[in-house]
């Protein structure tokens, strides 16, 4: 390990951090625009545009995140009088750092580097998945500390609520990931991606995928599980007392974590950077290497895989925005019910299915996939048919007659 390696590593870290924060900024814009269109509005369209002939504007509003960041930096930074000052100031950092370092073990593509490593991955460690789970759990400290340190009862309650929610969904999330780990027989993220080159995990583990999607949505306190910010009951939530950039950091956490979780989901269930035809040593890779030479071929292949990975993440992020536009916020008891009484047992069932299929059909991807898929769909169908949907309004007796 020479010093150039260290420098490359540092540069990679800086790029990832900057990338994550930029993605956050533009994801908020994308979300606002999409939500607006789904609600028959236009969304931010004032700050910045590329003028086109005929008075048309391209990409209008694309400087909105920049304007907002500028505004937030110049806002007055108030610290409540009785707050625990240092903890209060550190809380946003506690929240945002885990969100950014999740990206460290994610393989964003495949571009082999000179040290038997991957240019598009910061750290290919043996316990990559475990690291991701551990770091996502760390985020709860930020919320709890923020709620506690601002010395406001509302924030305190918000923080407690947030911690309860995040911790409740951790188990289901961990079990859903465990399924993938069992099938790939490795905690190493690059090996999990490599194991999916024949078949993406979404097919044999459709149940696990659904569980992961729901649990990760709750884990990153995203609508419809965004009870952490409850304007009606808690005046805002754990971040009530925070202003200016400190407040923005909490939002940053939420969004970076959301995108990171989508990236993790793409890696675990949608085959990461792979795509039919795109494999290490596959047709495209060898073709590129042959046509452009080893170095350039690998670079082009790396960029293609990076784009594929980002597209998958983007698709999942779009889905998250879509869900936000569609489903109203759940009640707190519903949230807890779903987490403990539905998702956790389902995740255990999922583990059982994966264990049985993998032991029953060793080294037979198609059989594992077929049986896993059918079993998953059956379980999902049974569970969803068990949930009672509320009565149509026409059938509800609003006033009971008294005889």
């Amino acid at each position: 390990m020479d010093w150039i390696y260290i420098i490359v590593l540092i540069v990679k870290c800086i790029i990832i951090t900057l990338g994550a924060t930029t993605i956050f900024a533009y994801f908020t814009l994308f979300e606002r625009k999409t939500l607006a269109r789904m609600q028959n509005r236009i969304g931010p369209n004032r700050a910045g545009y590329i003028p086109l002939p005929g008075g048309r504007k391209l990409l209008n509003g694309f400087l909105q995140p920049v304007a907002e960041a500028g505004k937030l930096f110049f806002k007055e930074d108030v610290v409540p009088l009785m707050a625990d000052k240092w903890v209060y100031i550190l809380a946003p950092a506690f929240a945002v750092i885990p969100a950014i370092i999740i990206w460290a073990t994610l393989p964003l593509g495949w571009w082999p580097g000179p040290w038997q490593d991957n240019w598009l991955q910061v750290a290919d460690i043996d316990v990559g998945v475990l690291y991701i789970l551990a770091v996502t759990s760390l985020g709860v400290y930020g919320l709890a500390i923020a709620g506690w340190s601002s010395n406001s009862k509302y924030s305190m309650l918000g923080g407690v609520r947030a911690s309860a929610q995040v911790i409740s969904y951790e188990l289901a999330l961990g079990l859903a990931v465990l399924g993938v780990v069992m099938q790939a027989q490795s905690f190493r993220t690059s090996e999990i991606v490599a194991a999916q080159q024949g078949m993406w995990n979404i097919i044999p583990q459709i149940l696990g995928f659904v569980i992961f999607l729901v649990a990760s949505t709750a884990e990153v306190v995203r609508s419809p599980f965004d009870l952490v910010e409850a304007e009606q009951e808690l005046v805002g939530g754990y971040n009530t007392e925070f202003g200016s950039m400190k407040f923005a950091l909490f939002f940053m956490t939420e969004y970076i974590k959301l995108v990171a979780m989508n990236a993790v989901c793409a890696m675990l269930f949608l085959g990461g950077w792979t795509f039919p035809g795109l494999e290490i040593g596959g047709v495209v890779a060898t073709g590129l290497n042959g046509a452009l030479g080893q170095m350039f071929g690998q670079a082009v292949f790396g960029i293609i895989t990076l784009v594929v990975f980002l597209l998958k993440t983007f698709a999942l992020s779009f889905f998250a925005v879509w869900i936000r536009a569609t489903i109203p916020r759940t009640r707190y008891d519903q949230l807890m019910d779903l987490g403990w009484k539905v998702l956790l047992p389902l995740a255990l069932v999922n583990i059982a299915i994966i264990a049985v299929t993998n032991v029953a059909f060793p080294d037979n991807t198609l059989a594992v996939a077929g049986v896993g898929f059918v079993a998953g769909i059956i379980v999902l169908a049974v569970v969803t048919s068990q949930t009672k949907s509320s009565k149509p309004k026409s059938q509800v007796t609003l006033v009971r007659k008294t005889s």
Binding site: T34, A36, R37, M38, Q39, N40, R41, I42, W322, I323, A325, T326, I327, T384, S385, T387, S389
Partner: protein
Amino acid sequence: MIGAFVKGLSTTFKYLFRKPVTVQYPEVKRPVRERFRGRHELKRFENGMERCIGCALCAAACPADAILVVPAENDPQKPNSPGERYAARYEINMLRCIFCGYCEDACPTNAIVLEHQYELSFFERGSSIYTKDMLLIPADKGHGEIPPILQQLDRRPSPPAQIDL
């Protein structure tokens, strides 16, 4: 449950391709309703004379105490308004005004009218005082006619004491 879920998702997805209904405010201004109460204006008679006769009934009626009227005698040779007096000073404190329209109701000559202008922001507290110069409209514009809605209903405006000389 899945059915309802898919239905909801498809509904929101459909809207993604619809034309937004938003009005692009600073460029496009949607006309307000006829009865909208915006910024005040002091009207004139058709011959160009001020309608306001400085009676200060509006100031008396104002629940927010926003109006100041200082009347003065008219010069008989060159009267500002019909009758003996006119408003030498007429000020409305827009920080106080609650746009209730009582001043409009109280005015015997229909001089003060809450019109449709609603862009009223300013940067200094001092700018909140609207003086007579700002309120009084040019002689060729607007004479405090009966609003179209009342014309349609064939009703006299309240206050019925409108004098048209």
